[in-house]
């Protein structure tokens, strides 16, 4: 007997069965792969933090290197700060998140023990344009941030501005934007500003120490 594949009942049952099969298949695959994906996401995060710390992990196991270097996590409300010990010096790593042109951008900002000097920075993005906005993850752009100060002469947290070359920031240090990627660049600038403001509680702890003020003055 040949089935009438055009009858309403057949169409209805066919669709229902198909949807159930596909749903079960995808659910099983998703469940089975979830631990591996979570591990990848964690590893990716650790690699990015190592990138912000300018640690070369290509020779060894990134997860092990991370465990050795990063030994504490401070919590301020819903914000976390990772504390790393790099050759005897304390570095603070601040997770960042913001908005680029097409989707989210994020990153990790590593600060020296004075909570002022940028030691290194690492950015990531979901879907910025390759060759334009996606360049925020590349070394030439990130390197500009090294040695910049997130405080002004008065010790206030003012962040680091990302500006087109030629423009001049008022009362804060700046780096060059990526040409052709204005919105992504200003997204990075805003992300730094907004996120650093949210870390106020962490940043203010040692800001009144004399050493801090001296350091800022000597830079200017």
């Amino acid at each position: 007997m040949k089935l009438n594949t055009n009858s309403n009942l057949y169409t209805f049952i066919y669709s229902a069965v198909m949807v159930i099969i596909v749903a079960v298949l995808l659910a099983v695959v998703s469940q089975a792969l979830a631990p591996k994906q979570q591990a990848n996401i964690l590893l990716d995060k650790q690699k990015q933090i190592l990138g912000a710390l300018k640690v070369d992990y290509s020779a060894g196991n990134p997860a092990e290197i991370y465990m050795v270097l990063v030994n504490d996590t401070l919590t301020y409300g819903d914000k976390e700060v990772y504390v790393a010990n790099l050759n005897g010096e304390t570095k603070y790593i601040l997770p960042l998140s913001g908005k680029g042109l097409w989707g989210g951008i994020g990153g990790y900002l590593a600060l020296d023990a004075d909570k002022n000097t940028v030691y290194g920075v690492n950015f990531n993005h979901e879907s910025e344009t390759p060759g334009l906005g996606a360049k925020i993850v590349e070394l030439p752009f990130r390197k500009q941030f090294e040695g910049k100060h997130i405080r002004n002469a008065a010790g206030e947290v003012v962040s680091v501005a990302v500006l087109k070359s030629g423009k001049h920031a008022d009362g804060q240090e700046q780096v060059d934007a990526i040409s052709g990627a204005t919105i992504t660049s200003s997204g990075v600038s805003t992300m730094l500003e907004v996120n650093l403001a949210e870390y106020e509680e962490f940043l203010k702890v040692e800001s009144n120490e004399g050493k801090e003020e001296d350091h800022v003055e000597s830079e200017n």
């Binding site: 089935l3 594949t5 055009n6 057949y10 169409t11 066919y14 669709s15 198909m18 949807v19 596909v22 298949l25 995808l26 695959v29 998703s30 792969l33 591996k36 994906q37 990848n40 996401i41 590893l43 990716d44 097409w102 989707g103 979901e126 879907s127 344009t129 390759p130 060759g131 334009l132 040409s179 052709g180």
Partner: protein
């Protein structure tokens, strides 16, 4: 080794019946992923695999699919495959999955897939459908690679991320063409490829 029909099915889409430059399908993604060579290559491979697999599945199911909901059935097959591929990539090739980001999911909307499923897989057997899928995927990949090659070379002076235009040229006043990085240039380049392709093929036809 291969019969004439098999050859036509597999090799036709690479040139005479190319999905991008002859049928003008899949243009949107061709504009989006061709700024650099590497994502273009990975996208080409991903599309080839998914077209081939969905072609085979739809071809095997073709006699059972109710005509009135066939487009929906095809979509479900493609969407399930794309989701599977992206889950597997996230578990085993996380870096590649991150690089393709949204474009991987957008393979679902690539017109080449729906076009091949509707025009070929619904009326042909699984083996021919597999060849047709591979041929069309590769035909798409070739155009992506040509466009990405020109855009990355002229736009960034690089190929696959390596600097190929020497510093010497920049010192003597050469500059990268920023226009090449804009999506509009991809459209113009696809136009140029179509022009070249037509003029060559028309000459042969005469």
């Amino acid at each position: 080794m291969l019969s004439q029909k098999t050859k036509d099915t597999l090799l036709g889409p690479l040139n005479a019946n190319n999905p991008v430059v002859v049928q003008i399908l899949g243009i949107c993604s061709a504009l989006a992923v061709t700024v650099q060579l590497k994502p273009a290559l990975v996208m080409g491979i991903a599309v080839t695999i998914i077209v081939a697999m969905s072609n085979v599945i739809v071809s095997l199911l073709r006699n059972t699919i109710p005509m009135r909901v066939r487009i929906i059935v095809q979509l479900v097959v493609v969407a399930a495959l794309v989701t599977l591929v992206s889950e597997v990539l996230k578990a085993f090739a996380y870096d590649v999955a991150m690089q393709l980001s949204v474009y991987l999911g957008l393979i679902i909307t690539n017109c080449i897939l729906m076009g091949r499923l509707e025009a070929f897989a619904m009326t042909n057997n699984a083996w021919d459908s597999l060849l047709d899928g591979l041929g069309n995927g590769l035909g798409y990949a070739i155009i992506l690679v040509i466009v990405a090659f020109v855009r990355e070379l002229l736009g960034s002076g690089q190929l696959l991320g390596f600097q190929v235009i020497p510093q010497w040229c920049y010192d003597h006043g050469y500059e990268n063409c920023g226009m090449m990085l804009m999506p509009a240039m991809a459209l113009i380049l696809v136009g140029c490829v179509i022009w070249a392709h037509r003029s060559i093929n028309d000459k042969e036809a005469k």
